[in-house]
Amino acid sequence: MLTSFQANDIFDTTYTQDTLKTNAQYDKAIYGKALEQVTDINERIEPFLKGTLKESNESFTIEIKDFPDPAAEQIKSSIHAIKLPNKWVKEGIKPPNFLSKEIAEQIAVYIYTTFHLFPNRVSASIEEGVFLNYRNFNKEKDLSLEVYNDLEIAAIINQNDKILKTFDIKSKDPEIYSQIIKSFYE
């Protein structure tokens, strides 16, 4: 899987044919082996990158079109894959509904793209909704956020078995998440 570093470092760049043939980083990122021919580069690269390679006389330019961030995609798919444990089904607990998953997904992707935080745990909540947990290992803090099936949202920051702050999130303004993350990191 390509990292954002590789994407920025390589794909927004114009390469000479010679460079393409010999750039080990490029080879490793794209093919994992030495590039022997560049004539069929579009065919080989397109399904992988969703981008195109334009060829001029002496150089190649890779244009990235809507290149999906694999980490953001991972967050989205993990939220949509949430299932209720069987024992909760027996107790009549309802699984997270579609809208709670959608909102949890937007929040988690926003937190990832803005603050570069990846959830430590994504699961169903026994309170009926989606549960997201983030961990600040340096400060031993936990941020837990729940999006309920009635679309209310609450969050809590805990440190060493002590509650530091709680939030009822009613605002749609993403600024609230900046305040939460600030508290999580201070």
């Binding site: 745990r121 026994i126 209310e152 509650i163 009822d168």
Partner: protein
């Protein structure tokens, strides 16, 4: 009834006790399994239910007795928290609620029920009282987190009694 069924749990003509009987340092037992633990072996916040959840009162039962209940398993673990924890910020209070069941009688059964603002911890909220509208999710989440912070694992899943 299973012939090994704990004698302590049988009703034996005993009466339900009032809320004032609960002592702050007494424990309330609750069942869990392996999937309720996180990677540091702590109970996951998202598995803790509130309000109106079932427990067993330590005055009349032992941790292993939580395995003897409807939908219980002989591999269940047990954690406990104090009555004082269950009354955190007077958000809820334990109510003695003996179960007279042919297969699973349980004199120790307790329901921790949510209090409305202004209600005393010695008030007994009725069973299945409708959740108050406007009851804050933040308040409930704080209650559950406080329970996770103050619980103690008495019996691990699959541990022999």
């Amino acid at each position: 009834m299973n012939r090994n069924y704990p004698n302590d749990l049988k009703i034996k003509n005993r009466k339900k006790l009032p809320t004032t009987e609960f002592m702050d340092n007494e424990k309330l037992f609750r069942a869990f399994d392996e999937r309720d633990l996180d990677e540091t072996d702590k109970i996951k916040l998202e598995t803790v239910r509130f309000p109106d959840f079932s427990c067993d009162w330590s005055r009349f039962s032992k941790p292993g007795h939580i395995r003897y209940r409807i939908n219980g398993s002989m591999t269940d673990g047990c954690y406990s928290f104090t009555v004082l924890t269950s009354r955190y910020k007077e958000i809820a209070t334990p109510v003695h609620d003996p179960i007279s069941d042919d297969k699973f009688p349980n004199y120790a059964h307790v329901e921790v029920r949510e209090l409305s603002e202004g209600e005393s911890i010695y008030f007994e909220p009725p069973k299945n009282r409708k959740r108050r509208t406007g009851s804050s999710k933040q308040r409930r989440l704080e209650y559950r987190q406080n329970m996770v912070n103050n619980l103690f694992i008495d019996l691990n899943p699959s541990e022999q009694l």
